[in-house]
């Protein structure tokens, strides 16, 4: 076969690969062994840096080696510092004064540059290496001359390769904060990435952090200003309609339609009842220890700080205070919790007392423009449901839109959507049931102030079917709960505790 091409057979190739593999394993072990010996001996020198490079370039996830490198870098820096101090101690006349370049800084900078180059190479091998990203941050923190613009370019480059790498997005947020990149510019970048591929949780999330900052909502009852919200809703619905099976857009839309509740804000008073023997307080969200928040009761000239709060339930949403108070009829009382101040109403009936009640998720007001946008979106969803009656995300979204437009008028319709969802998306049946229970309770609690016997009695009609009873803390101001036998059975021990229950126990 002279002059003919001979190609390795697969058998031969496999054999060769095996040898190569064995050789690599030996090289790896040898290098690791050497590194460990050197470390025990405290030799944090240049050889150590070279040895770790060899391994990290192939496997950037050996965090031990990154730790060793950090030790080496710190060692080098401290040596550098010593050298400089030594030089400074020398008589000054040997050096020409003034023009001496800052050699130390240059040297230090080159140490950092070397680390940055290494992490960059390693991130090419594994762009999702936690250790490599972390080492990069560490290096930049050490370097007083860190070039944040360069880091920004690096993010751009990596996000071009993979626009969904959440490591890069995370790192980008870190860099943009350091480089003081204007949020508007970041938003534009984020929009570009979404245009390329909207199936990207990271970029939607990035938006959700930027928008509230750029377009704050004055009332704080929506995630951002209504005008911007309108545009965002339009954009996200377009994405959702283009590919309804992609969940990222739907999740973002859910956030947009939400109340933009800031997790860090203090809990608010949901319900409060005061009698001369003590008081109960329900919060709209759990709080670990109410004693740490200042609660102040004002009535006429009198000002009392309520202390010694004890939890009524295990979740930290309802609290009792066994402080006896000198309740005065015909005095208007108000309660102050943190920066929230609410006026109490006198309890109807013969007994003395006052109360406060605010149903959960009182509908946020809505400008005409936003309302129009929501209605357009709802119409689009309903149009789509004609073509695809079983489309899960469309069913859920249209229910959410209806509620955003007008909660009580659309209550029945939105529950009908959930009932349908339980069938078409049976795997999440429990989720939809819970959601239905929440919506029902929100609806019933909103109606409660108009009901007879409020706030002493709460009645839930027999035909209201519930899988659970959320918002239980709101009932702490009631005396009697009229719930169906079936529901009581279902709830078992978790029937909400009422004011009357506490009295029976002898708390008040």
């Amino acid at each position: 076969m002279h002059g003919r091409v001979k190609v390795r057979t697969t058998e031969e190739e496999r054999e060769r690969k095996k040898k190569e593999q064995a050789l690599k394993v030996r090289a790896y072990r040898a290098a690791m062994g050497r590194i460990q010996k050197k470390r025990e001996a405290g030799e944090l020198d240049s050889e150590m840096l070279t040895l770790t490079v060899q391994i990290l370039q192939r496997n950037p996830d050996v965090s031990t080696l990154w730790n060793i490198r950090r030790e080496c870098v710190l060692e080098k820096l401290s040596k550098l510092k010593e050298e400089v101090e030594d030089e400074e101690e020398k008589p000054a006349q040997e050096e020409p004064v003034g023009d001496k370049p800052p050699v130390k800084e240059d040297k230090a900078h080159s140490i950092f540059t070397c680390e940055l180059d290494l992490t960059e190479q390693c991130l090419m091998v594994n762009p999702k290496s936690y250790s490599a990203w972390h080492h990069r941050c560490w290096t930049l923190e050490q370097d007083p001359r860190a070039d944040w613009q360069r880091e920004l370019q690096l993010c751009n480059k990596y996000l071009k390769y993979d626009e969904r790498n959440f490591h890069t997005w995370d790192y980008r947020r870190y860099v943009t904060a350091k480089a003081a990149v204007p949020a508007a510019q970041e938003l534009d970048f984020c929009t570009e990435k979404i245009k390329v591929n909207f199936s990207n949780y990271s970029s939607w999330h990035h938006r959700s952090l930027l928008l509230p900052e750029l377009y704050p909502n004055e009332q704080r009852d929506r995630p951002m200003s209504e005008e911007k919200l309108q545009q965002e809703l339009e954009m996200v619905l377009t994405a959702a309609f283009t590919d309804p099976n992609d969940s990222s857009a739907w999740f973002y839309q859910r956030w947009l339609l939400g109340s933009g509740a800031q997790l860090d804000r203090a809990p608010r008073v949901a319900a409060f009842r005061l009698e001369s023997q003590g008081a109960v307080l329900a919060l709209d969200r759990p709080y670990p220890d109410l004693k740490q928040l200042k609660t102040e009761l004002t009535g006429g000239e009198q000002k009392v700080e309520l202390q010694s709060w004890l939890p009524v339930d295990s979740s930290g949403t309802s609290w009792k205070c066994q402080q006896s108070l000198d309740y005065q009829r015909n005095t208007i009382y108000s309660l102050k919790l943190c920066d929230q101040e609410v006026n109490l109403s006198p309890l109807p009936g013969p007994e003395d007392g006052a109360f406060y009640f605010a149903p959960p998720h009182a509908a946020a007001s809505c400008s005409k423009e936003l309302l129009a946008e929501l209605q357009t979106q709802l119409q689009s969803c309903l149009d789509l449901l004609e073509f695809e009656p079983d489309s899960k995300w469309t069913l859920l979204t249209s229910a959410l839109l209806m509620r955003a437009i007008e909660v009580s008028a659309n209550h029945e319709k939105s529950l009908a959507h959930l009932a349908k969802l339980e069938k078409v998306d049976a795997l999440r049946e429990g989720y939809y049931k819970d959601l239905a229970a929440r919506w029902t309770l929100e609806y019933e609690l909103a109606k409660w102030p108009q009901a007879a016997g409020f706030p002493r009695n709460f009645t839930l009609a027999e035909d209201v079917l519930l899988a659970s009873l959320p918002y239980g803390q709101y009932f702490v101001i009631a005396d009697e709960l009229n719930l169906s036998i079936k529901l009581r059975e279902q709830l078992g021990d978790s029937v909400p505790i009422t004011f009357a229950d506490l009295k029976v126990k002898g708390d008040f």
Partner: protein, 511 residues
Amino acid sequence: MSDDLPEQFDLVVIGTGFTESCIAAAASRVGKTVLHLDSNEYYGDVWSSFSMDALCARLDQQPEAHSTLRNASYTWHTTEQEPETGEPTWTKDSVLAKSRRFSLDLCPRILYAAGELVQLLIKSNICRYAEFRAVDHVCMRHNGEIVSVPCSRSDVFNTKTLTIVEKRLLMKFLTACNDYGEDKSNEDSLEFRGRTFQEYLQAQRVTEKIASCVMQAIAMCGPTTSFEEGMQRTQRFLGSLGRYGNTPFLFPMYGCGELPQCFCRLCAVYGGIYCLKRAVDDIALDSTTNDFLLSSAGKTLRAKHVVSAPGYPPVSKGIELKPHISRGLFISSSPLGNEELNKGGGGVNLLRLLDADAAREAFLIQLSHYTGACPEGLYIFHLTTPALSEDPAADLALFTSQLFDHSNAQIIFSSYFTIAAQSNKSAAAEHIYYTDPPTYELDYDAAIANARHIFGQLFADADFLPRAPDPEEIVVDGEDPSALNEHSLPEDLRAQLQDMQQATQEMDIQD
């Protein structure tokens, strides 16, 4: 030089067009001795790309009875005077001064990213000789405007021309087409079997705009296209999406003339011999050996088989050619369509044109300098339609008026020509195999099928273009094929190995 040629070949191929080159490469690849001749001084025959000068010279050449390129004409539309003020405009001289920056195709094509040719290039490893640019926009005419057809998911998301419900319908329709055929018994296939694709489309409750996107640009079909055919074409389009860039298409950098040369190169790597500017004067059959005797430049060559492109004497004598494709080639200093379609200087845009009742079609390929086919600031428009007559300009008049009548395209140069084909394919005289000249198609499917067919006739049992090994896979004579090649290791690992040999002596390292 002719004396250095061997005298005996398994195969002599006459003409270096796409199909011939494909056959030559395939034969050479499986160990056949191949001589590849072309009387032209360039590769590619009518599949070639030319510089500006060379194109004019080629179009000036007097056609003969057997020529596949005919009815050629060209016109310069530039004024000779320099304008007094403003930006410098292009003149004939300034264009010709950049002649070598042009790669002007006689037969421009667009490749489906997962189509026959791309698959063949990958399978045979010929792809390493070629470079491509992803087509930037697939366009259609809508209400007299050229608009981009949303191809990918991100296109659909970003387009402003569809309402959100339309977007949903389009995506749903495309998904349905893509999934079609996986379950043969699905309702649609039964209901629409034997009916037209258009009827199917109408039954899907899609809007008029979506219907035209699909008919004109995605399925690329007409009112009479059958349901099965339309589905197949749609799938072909969708199957090529998401591979490279935003559209399902590729265009070869520096023009389509590169492609035959890629095949020639593989042929040469496997020992094929190339002679350009070499005509065959006569062919005879040796009745005792059944070999062909070719006389060329005073020398007689023996060949077991002969493959020839039409249009090459003496083999083409007696073959009747008739117009097959009418071509228009234009150079303009401004692109077609709006700014959005030509962002950043434009790229490659594809537009399928139809007459009023969609009975006739043409396709337009617009190229910018990013393809390496023309200088910066100029654009090439390639217009191709099936020929009706010997007058290519008349055949194309309808489409040129659609394109240029109400546009601001500044045409500098225009040319028209015809590509002819055999009127009778059975004319394979004396066991010489004739390849088909370029047919009217977007990709190279028919040409590849033609090459495959002829190759199968010649060497029935041989593999058609199996994968060519990469250099590092090739074993040099006398080498242990399973030996570990130290040079295949990265440099630092090699250095490390040497250190290690010392280290292993000191430490007890177990494998």
